[in-house]
């Protein structure tokens, strides 16, 4: 058994939930978390979005606005994200990962999230005290 931890955009929560049902793993636990990724070193990845945001800031102090927008886009700031914990049988792991990736891919180049896979030693169903894969 494996634990899949996926960190995704807040507004992709519903798409992720739907994708999980479609891939056959309806059960999950979700948390609101704050997170950040690697620093964006290649500034060309965020150039388009930066230009869009700078346009919206017309009329304001350009240097101040640019510092603020850089802070949002380059990855130093903590950003709200949704964290899904899914426990799955070994054979189900790859389809679930494919479903989560399909639902969360955007054109923004950075910030689509991460998926982690961890080993799980045992599962117990509290109601019946079943152990292992039958408890899933």
């Amino acid at each position: 058994m494996k634990e899949i931890i996926a960190v995704v955009r807040m507004n992709k929560t519903n798409a992720t939930k739907k994708a999980l049902i479609d891939s056959g793993a309806a059960g999950f636990t979700a948390l609101k978390v704050m997170g950040r990724g690697r620093l964006v070193e290649d500034k060309s990845l965020i150039a388009t979005r930066k230009a869009n945001m700078m346009e919206m800031a017309l009329g304001e102090d350009t240097r101040e606005a640019e510092a603020l927008i850089d802070g949002f886009l380059d990855g130093q700031r903590l950003i709200p994200r949704r964290m899904f914990h899914i426990i799955a049988k070994d054979a189900e792991v790859q389809p679930i990962i494919a479903a989560i990736m399909g639902a969360n891919r955007t054109d923004n180049k950075v910030g689509d999230g991460k998926i982690f896979v961890l080993p799980i030693a045992d599962v117990v169903r509290v109601r019946t005290a079943e152990r292992g894969e039958t408890a899933l």
Partner: protein, 108 residues
């Protein structure tokens, strides 16, 4: 790869994250949690507080970076030279696979 979960004091959150960025480890997920430790909470007068607010910092790291990150957290989360009860804990578990959604790559 490893998944590091560090439980630290809420007031130390920004300091720990700043030190991690300075050391070159930017990626992290931060959750507000409550918990208690070996001391069974804090007793003030007749009231026992056993749901003490903490912050959990979750990081997926390469094997080579693990010890550096642990020492950075260890250093920046301490409240004094000796440390004190309640400064936190660091848990490390194995991480089998990691995927980046935007590129679809199977890497951190």
């Amino acid at each position: 790869m490893y998944l590091i979960k560090a439980v630290v004091r809420p007031e130390k959150r920004d300091e720990v994250l700043y030190e991690l960025t300075s050391a070159g480890f930017n990626a992290a997920t931060v959750v507000d949690v409550v918990g208690r430790g070996k001391q069974k909470g804090i007793k003030i007068g007749n009231i026992v507080y056993d749901e003490i607010p903490k912050v959990m910092i979750i990081m997926a790291v390469q094997e080579t970076d693990k010890d550096d990150i642990i020492s950075v957290i260890m250093r920046s989360a301490k409240t004094s030279e000796k440390g004190a009860f309640g400064d936190g804990k660091i848990f490390v578990s194995p991480l089998e696979e990691a995927y980046t959604v935007s590129s679809g790559a199977k890497e951190l």
